[in-house]
Structure formats: structure tokens, C-alpha cells
Amino acid sequence: MNKLVDTQDPNTTQPLPKASNKPIIWSLFAAGGTITALLIPILVFVIALAVPLGLLSADLFSYARLVELANNPLVKIILFFVISLSLWHAAHRLRITAHDFGLRADGFVMFFLYGLAAVTTMFLGWILLFL
């Protein structure tokens, strides 16, 4: 019997493997990691470092321009997915990292970090939808 085959042999009573939520969680983790890896360094550079370094004009960050940019629906969607996926990826990683640093209260760490990520995601959604 090959246990990796997904279909059930009608002659046996062997049950089908139970559906797992791991593929969904892991695909989100991988998506978050890839988006983080591709975009966070350049976003930090553009938003936080380029103006003090004198590479970009502060005029590009004028209130009027950024309000117009942030009101673009496409920009809103991109912002929501980039920030929330990076945030959830970071929260999950930080949970494992806390364990590696010797903090073994995983229940509390999980509640705290995922809770923080959930609240921040909702806050972000609220800002983008209503403000």
C-alpha cells in the first residue's frame, strides 16, 4: 500500500488521509516571505532612507501627492497585501525565534504575536477603507 496515494482502495478499510490546513498556512508563509524578500528592502530605502541621504526630493513625499497616491484603489490593494503578508510572516517567524531564544511560553507568545498581527491587519484595513 502506498500511503502517499490520495485515493482509497475500495477493498481496504484504510481511511483517507485527513485534510490538513498546513498547505494553506505554508503557502501564506511562503508568499509573505517572498513579498518581504522582494519588496521590504527597497520600501525601507525609498520611504525611510532616500530623503535623508539626499537621493530623493522631499517634495515627492508632499501631503497632497501621497494622499492622491494612497487614494488609488490599486495602491490600496497593494499596500494591504504587502503590509499584512509581511506582518503575518514576521509574526510567525518571531514566534519560532522566541522559542529559539529560550522563551518557552509558546501559548502566550502565539496569542500575543498573532493577536498583534490580527489587530494591526484590521486597523490597516479600516484605514484603507474608511479614512
Binding site: 518581504t36 522582494l38 528592502p41 522631499a58 529559539d100
Partner: protein
């Protein structure tokens, strides 16, 4: 208190199945013993800085929604008062990207005509993609609002 003491005893010496005792690895400082443990921890610690940056971005959007004075206050704080933190975030995020792309041949091995694609091709393609994505963000931000 009692459980803590028991815990400490157990931490100090661990009995193996064959009756021998060993000293288990240090719970808090194991990652300082070897360069690769250290690099692993620095990679994982990048998540803290990336998380902080996500909060900064969400907060910036909130300040943008509050009006011009609030937003200018936020950019001023970000650029001139948190420069050290921003550089730390940038260095950790870049290191995370580097490690993330270096493991791609192991995370998603690609086969072409039954043969494995060489690791350096997969890694190189990801680094090119990274460069391309960075350039897109850079130019989209500069020219995005001007049409």
C-alpha cells in the same frame, strides 16, 4: 518555585537512555557558540525589524489620514529622529532577502526535461527578480503620481 527548581536541575544534567549523563545545550546562549547558529538567529531576528517596519507603515498611513501636519510630523520623525532604527531595519531586511533567495534551489527545486536546474541559475534568477522589483518600486514611486 518548586517546578522552577526541578526545571533547573533537569536543565543542568540530562540522563540518557543508556544511563549516561550529558550536559544539554545552553537554553539561552546556544546560538552564540557557532557562526552558523549566529547567522541563523540574525536571519530569524530580521522578522522583528520587518514587523516594526510594518507597524511604522501602518502608523504612517494613519497619520496621512489625519492631515498634513500629522503626516509631516511622521516623516520628520522617520527621517531625522529614527535614522538609526531605519538603517537597522534596512540591513536586517536585506540580509533576510539574501538568505531567502539563497535557499530557493532547496525550497523549490525545478526540473527541466528530467534534469535538475543548477542551483546558481535559480538563485541568479531570484536575484535578478529582486533587482527588477526594486527598480519597479523606485521608478513607480518617483513617476507614479505625475500622470
Amino acid at each position: 518555585m518548586i517546578t522552577l527548581d526541578n526545571h533547573r536541575l533537569k536543565e543542568e544534567m540530562m540522563k540518557l537512555a543508556n544511563g549516561n549523563y550529558i550536559r544539554p545545550p545552553a537554553r539561552y546562549s546556544w546560538w552564540m557558540r557557532q557562526g552558523r547558529y549566529w547567522r541563523y538567529m540574525m536571519r530569524e531576528l530580521s522578522s522583528l525589524f520587518i514587523g516594526i517596519f510594518c507597524f511604522i507603515l501602518v502608523w504612517g498611513l494613519f497619520r496621512l489620514a489625519q492631515g498634513e501636519a500629522a503626516f509631516n510630523h511622521w516623516t520628520n520623525e522617520l527621517w531625522y529622529q529614527s535614522a538609526g532604527l531605519c538603517w537597522l531595519i534596512f540591513l536586517f531586511a536585506t540580509y533576510h532577502s539574501y538568505t531567502w533567495f539563497m535557499v530557493t534551489p532547496k525550497a523549490m527545486p525545478i526540473k527541466l526535461n528530467g534534469k535538475r536546474v543548477a542551483a546558481y541559475i535559480i538563485i541568479g534568477a531570484h536575484f535578478l527578480l529582486w533587482l527588477f522589483a526594486s527598480l519597479v518600486v523606485w521608478y513607480a514611486f518617483i513617476y507614479g503620481g505625475n500622470t
